[in-house]
Symmetry: C3
Subunit: 220 residues, 3 copies
């Protein structure tokens, strides 16, 4: 389960030590953590990461197949999380220490900056292979954060990007050795913490992604 | 005239051995070929290429000047082809073995991936020089597929990109020696053929380019 | 105050030798210069530059704080200038010989091409630090001209890009030694001067940025 700690101006959200799929309970915990980050005052920033080989494997498909009647509500909750992270009024850095797949990869894209482990782990959108099309909101999120052909290839081929490839494609901002992932993310976040003292950062992000946020919050 | 062949999972559409301008009869033949590709079932992908020095020189201006009253219908047909290729539910690769100019260059952009000959041939949008503005749909297509300043420079200056320049600018995905253009395109296409067995790929592309497709299909 | 000269086919607009902030009188002078450029006929292009260490530092905040009741009208005038430059029917090159900050940086983005001094001067959007959110129109302008993550980082962190960094990020097209800034800009502009002899170039730009122009011209 996700846990939140604070060191100086940087909140650190550990997404968990397993697959860190977006189970409804996991979403509730992450939302509560983001409430705490938002509610705090003064300079602050957020780093998310996980322990082990996986950052997040995305939707909890086992739970979803067991609760098909909850499909629309569940997707709405996932989209709400993506929208919230994308417009969070504090600076956010994803420390991608392991695999980021599907909605886990999208969650990383909703952060301001991504630092990824260089030598192991993949960032991947396997939707075209597993026969789950992106919702319009998810599609818009990915397009808004990546160069056109990078988004196209990632979304239509399911290509797996290692850290170095992901950095070359601009999917992540930096690929670094394993031991540097978290410290680099914290350093970047700490340098931007002062911006959360006033609401401008949140306004800037909300205007940057207004059409994406509208689509993510649209209810069918 | 365009001809369609199939080798294993890869359809190969030869656009012709001349200028391969988008004459109404040429459009009819290409549409029939795409019908056959769509109608087929199971794993399949599409490679387009031409023989000779030209991939396609774009609109058939001679025909158009001789049939000015058909201008709106003709442009609508060209835009329909671009929209169809952009959202085709099979993976598409343009093997650009020679010049791709104007609507011929746009047709290449409507494919999922482009492989271009490195040492000869230009990819070029000469519209600003020949005094033919891009339609809103064509403008949106180009912008959706290229980095912002690449689209801007290509569209406002009519710069001619050789294969190596086009690859550096992200206009094409790879620039390779002449003899490798077709095999490389076929290899890329074959690797994605399995995706056409279910409708997800078409849905992904249609959502990626929903606003572009709307503009291309808009009638005046 | 801004001054306009013409050498052969290239108009040269000197934005001034100070901070070149967008004071209302400065806006009036620049508008008059652009009237002259538009009114002229035949081949022509425009280079803007300044003298000294600053290209433009953006909004005239001193004047604005002294005239708070004019805030909406003032912002509307600035947005009109950005929209006008973005869609000017002649080719435009910004010769960024010194600092381009905030609305001064945005003004440079409204040109077709940017040439920047390599070794001194910064291109910077400090809005997140000085607590002035981008208007929706300004936000759209920046996003339409830069790669997604470049726009995001520039807008959310206030990062200062020197010429070489700005060129690497695609914010400017070239970074060159100080003495080459103006000659390079003039050479690029002169090569495109012939395009201004017919209205196609203006139509191309207006269609490329139709949604941005709508937002910039929107009145609250």
């Amino acid at each position: 389960m996700p846990t939140l700690e604070r060191h100086d101006d940087v909140f650190f959200l550990d997404l968990g030590g397993g697959e860190n799929r977006l189970h409804p309970d996991w979403l509730t915990e992450v939302d509560a953590a983001l409430d705490e980050v938002e509610k705090a005052e003064g300079p602050r920033a957020l780093v998310t990461a996980a322990t082990g080989k996986i950052y997040s494997n995305g939707l909890d498909l086992d739970w979803l197949f067991a609760h098909p009647e909850e499909h629309p509500d569940y997707v709405a909750r996932v989209q709400d999380l993506l929208a919230r992270m994308l417009s969070l009024p504090v600076f956010t850095v994803a420390a991608v220490q392991g695999h980021a797949f599907a909605a886990g990869a999208m969650l990383s894209l909703a952060h301001d900056v991504r630092v990824m482990r260089a030598d192991r782990g993949f960032w991947c959108l396997p939707e075209a292979d597993i026969n789950i099309p992106f919702t319009p909101g998810m599609s818009a999120l990915i397009q808004a954060r990546l160069a056109p052909q990078v988004a196209h290839v990632a979304m239509t081929t399911g290509r797996r990007y290692g850290g170095t490839d992901a950095a070359a494609a601009g999917i992540v901002d930096q690929a670094v050795p394993e031991d540097d992932v978290r410290p680099t993310a914290v350093e970047i976040a700490a340098a931007q913490a002062a911006k959360a003292a006033h609401p401008t950062l949140g306004t800037i992000k909300s205007r940057l992604y207004a059409p994406v946020l509208d689509l993510l919050r649209e209810r069918g």
